[in-house]
Symmetry: C2
Subunit: 334 residues, 2 copies
């Protein structure tokens, strides 16, 4: 590389091309009125000098920082992570940096300070990442003059832009998959009865089943999202000798708990009972064919991407945007 270390600026290009600074700028930005021949000469010069405009100078002049703020409650939580990664990946592809403000939403005065700080940085947009639909996030949209989008949480302002999982579709997808396998005696082990996600998944499941004229066998077992609860529920099913050929676990933890107890009791999965979970807890790292538990991926990564895309997209479509889930077939419904 015989390239000189000094950065080449637009002035350099202009000087070499024998034009003024402003002309060079206009030529390279496509704007302004420039004769075709001049423009081409400038473009060639820029190319030859290996000119790259200084991004900071552009930012200052344009008032845009090419940076998006991500506000999260707890970035390191298992569910927030993929959303943030998805968003950051998309944003990076579009030359947008991410400024992650974690846990600053909580205290009111911290928040005020953060907002001032972000505005001082001339942030281009704000992405609020939550931890599910348990409770609504206080809307911060009014605090910014740039677009604000909410992912994996509900804002308390209905006209905010929100991206959330489609729990209804998840339930429906589980039901349809089990039906397609010929299963008709389906049980559901769910989380707390007052959990919104659990309710929606149940609704979706019921809808799928009723579409085929099938109803859930026995009542829905409500507990928690844990593996321990899955085991407890499975023990009860065994003790009461439920006549079932499939179980939809509210999430993968529950499904694993069920499976373990079933396995210990000699119930064969999937031959005797097919099993579906939710969350894609095993992730996608291992060879897809080797995956064990059939599960439904909520689409958190895609949700982060979609939210980020929407943020950059210009047009802000208010209200709820549902992220379609994905079925990932494993051995438990082989």
């Amino acid at each position: 590389m015989a390239v000189s270390k000094k950065k080449v600026t637009l002035s350099d290009v202009a000087a070499v091309a024998g034009v003024s600074l402003s002309t060079a700028s206009k030529a390279l930005n496509g704007g302004g009125r420039i004769s075709a021949v001049t423009r081409q000469r400038i473009e060639e010069t820029a190319l030859r000098l290996d000119f790259r405009p200084n991004g900071l100078a552009q930012s200052l002049a344009l008032g845009r920082s090419r940076t998006v703020a991500v506000l999260s409650d707890r970035a390191e939580s298992t569910f927030a992570r993929p959303v943030i990664i998805g968003a950051a990946t998309y944003l990076g592809q579009h030359e947008q940096a991410v400024l992650l403000y974690d846990a600053r939403l909580r205290r009111r005065d911290d928040m005020a300070e953060s907002i001032r700080s972000l505005n001082a940085r001339r942030i281009d947009g704000v992405l609020v990442v939550g931890e599910g639909l348990h409770h609504r996030t206080r809307s911060v949209s009014a605090e910014f003059s740039v677009p604000v989008t909410y992912a994996f949480t509900l804002s308390d302002e209905p006209d905010d832009v929100m991206f959330v999982p489609d729990n209804h579709a998840i339930g429906r997808m589980a039901g349809e998959h089990l039906l397609a396998l010929g299963r008709r005696r389906i049980a559901h082990v769910a989380a707390e009865a007052d959990d919104l996600a659990a309710q929606l998944r149940l609704e979706g499941l019921r809808e799928a089943l009723s579409g085929a004229g099938v109803t859930l066998v026995h009542e829905v077992l409500h507990g928690s999202w844990t593996e321990a609860w899955g085991r407890t529920a499975a023990q009860r099913m065994l003790a009461e000798r439920w006549d079932i050929d499939a179980v939809f676990g509210g999430n993968d933890h529950i499904a694993r708990g069920v499976e373990n107890v079933f396995a210990a009791a000699g119930v064969r999965v999937p031959q005797d009972v097919a099993l579906v979970g939710v969350d894609n807890w095993e992730g996608l790292i291992i060879d897809q064919s080797a995956r064990h538990l059939t599960t439904i991926d909520v689409g958190l990564i895609g949700m982060g991407e979609a939210a980020a895309a929407h943020l950059l997209g210009g047009e802000q479509a208010p209200g709820l945007h549902y992220q379609p889930p994905t079925l990932i077939v494993g051995e438990t419904t082989g």
Copy 2:
């Protein structure tokens, strides 16, 4: 808010305080020679006017963008995610944005273009995030004039700054934990024999055991990192009637596979056989007390934080930095 919408600039502050622009700047930055009384007057004025310096202007003047580039192979992979999140969290706390360039390391010309792009943005540092120690990453340190740090991968340039898991300590920790529980007949189900991480974990384990005058019962079972291999290994242990009271699974997948087969065979965990895995696959979302599998957290989040901290820290300490693991006790060694 009766605050005028117009942004207040440093000139405004200077004018109101009755000083020049440069004096105001020096007063607020702590630098320069300013009388205490003048400085205080300016600071009060700034406070009263709610002045925040325009970050972009500062960046341009200082040549620092307060942005760090993160270069990854596959940001969405399960292992890269926590590293990136950890780094981003730490960086966000220090007002540094993250520009995530995913999968751009692969193709040589893409990479060249990315490097030019980052340099044009006046990036403050580069963090290369890999996917483990399987193969070395081509060093890009020479391409940047800013510090470059590697996390969760090895650079092919030994003097680069690298942050990696301490697989040796992981093995040792597993061994010590099992020994502390009084277990002496310990088996190890590992991944491929030529896998570096697997080798180091085995070494660490052996070291811990030999410290107590204990040796591994039977040979080490080498296979893969999968749950299926855990099951296969467990079946073999059962078939050959191994006399063991503990199993160290090379990772959580393996451990889960072992556990499932044991459970189905009536082997009680942890009464008959204690079980330890690696990776903290269950995450940390659920109530810690409720966690099932005893595991060793490799510390990927902490590694991301440490790498980011080192990057911002100024002093670059070349060579390998090992991330200490964490033992997370669950029911399988209760």
